[in-house]
Symmetry: C2
Subunit: 326 residues, 2 copies
Amino acid sequence: MINIAIDAMGGDFGEKPIVEGVIKALNIKPFNAILVGKSEVLKPLIPKNLEHFVQYEEAEEVFSMEENATDALKRKDTSIYKAIELVKNGKAQAVVSAGHSGASMSLATLRLGRLQNVLRPAIATLMPNITGTTLLLDVGANTDCKSENLFQFAIMGGVYAKEIMQIAKPRIALLSNGEEECKGNELTKETHQLMKKLPNFIGNAEGRDIFNANVDVLVCDGFSGNVILKSCEGVAGAIFKILKADIKTNLISKLGAVLMKPSFMRLKKKIDWQEYGGAPLLGVKGCVIISHGKSDARAIQNAIFQALHFSEANINKAIENELSKF
Amino acid sequence: MINIAIDAMGGDFGEKPIVEGVIKALNIKPFNAILVGKSEVLKPLIPKNLEHFVQYEEAEEVFSMEENATDALKRKDTSIYKAIELVKNGKAQAVVSAGHSGASMSLATLRLGRLQNVLRPAIATLMPNITGTTLLLDVGANTDCKSENLFQFAIMGGVYAKEIMQIAKPRIALLSNGEEECKGNELTKETHQLMKKLPNFIGNAEGRDIFNANVDVLVCDGFSGNVILKSCEGVAGAIFKILKADIKTNLISKLGAVLMKPSFMRLKKKIDWQEYGGAPLLGVKGCVIISHGKSDARAIQNAIFQALHFSEANINKAIENELSKF
């Protein structure tokens, strides 16, 4: 059975939603959960029938969201540090953390180390599109990139799409401000030329292509990726707010909204990031799933399933194989 | 009366929606329209009662969307070239074009020239937010920027917000991947320090802040701006597509959608770029409004009104004044 280290104290809402997420996951699929944090706080939250699936690793401190990621290495008593160490020492195959993502990332990179030939790890996230999902990377690990970094992100994303998303020939594209090869900034123009070496490269794609299901893997630097994530979150939120405010002014619309509620709920579920759990950090030894600080139990459950799939697949070996070809 | 040169042949759908937009605008507010294109094609489209508001400037050619913007200067018989020349020669105060935006931009920059001290002109666009609009710039003119460029975009955007959007103290922010000063890529970190000189600078903002009405002017490089525009268009489109598909599967939802139709229509109108007409090019001598290639008559009408407001205001003088302070 796979051992998963869970940073039980990180996250904006403390241990409650995280432990609930672990319980939800355990009720569906067995695995060994190693809860990292204060066992005296955590133990009472685990129901009797699941006790034998849960172990504890003591960690007195939490790396807070206000701290600087560069300090993570010094804070050896934090739950995220100890969770990463469990993977480093072979006691767990994967980490799930909803804590400080910068800290998770730098600890993973520095303590677990990068896979062979990886210059920089990248955070990959699944975005919902009209028919399924698009993998977007990097979404925050690297704000300033070189073309070789983006080239490697493309390879790593392609492997993830094959191994985890089960897409035999993933369509890999480069985010730019136009589809034509000549479009882009200096970075993307240079990257475009490198990416031509990849058999699955389909060229430049624009922001809208994330959602129209034309692309399986979209590559960008972490700054653009973060801007996309947050803009899209913003526009979706604004649409529902504007609609809600409008409905209040009109009784017939209100009735319509009541009748449409199941449709709205299904839409919400489909575009809700909590459904996608977390974002794998690609390019490090081991498996690190970075969850949103505001994750609820469902998001943590899904992040755990991601960690299970990742650990069961041979993705890290496949990344090293692919990279060695170039 | 203000003379507005209208590139009547550019745009993805030819002269029809453009001339219709001119007619719509003339029916609301008088101005002198100079239609640039083939007068034999254009004349029959203008109703008798508006004839005395319309003049013609012959242009045999159209600068096509497939051409390279750098060739615009050589193609002296295109409608966009001739429209820009009308402003250069003082025969018109403004240009509206739904043609090749790169061509409009480089012709405006090279033929009209930049305002005093302007390093690079920027395309500014109004984005709908939950209560009004946010001005986003640059959205495509400059894919690679230096911090001094972004600093000037902030000043120009601030002037536009004051003069056209009538916001006495516009809140100016810098797009980054986090609100904290330390967040960002090299470019934004450097720009943040420069922007501190601006009294209305409120710090970094994230993608979502475009929509929550916390910011009046959001500054970014043209690559990021383009990515935002297209991603947001994509996510809005995907939301409606998913919802539409879902409604089809359920009779009650379908009925609900019928009842909600007026609310959906108002939402659509609110978030529809056609409502906002076009994007002013800030930093050039004269007034150039760049419209979407897919503009319908309403979008052209709104772009013309933008050109009228712009020409009536003292924005270019104000931009020069503000820039001279730094």
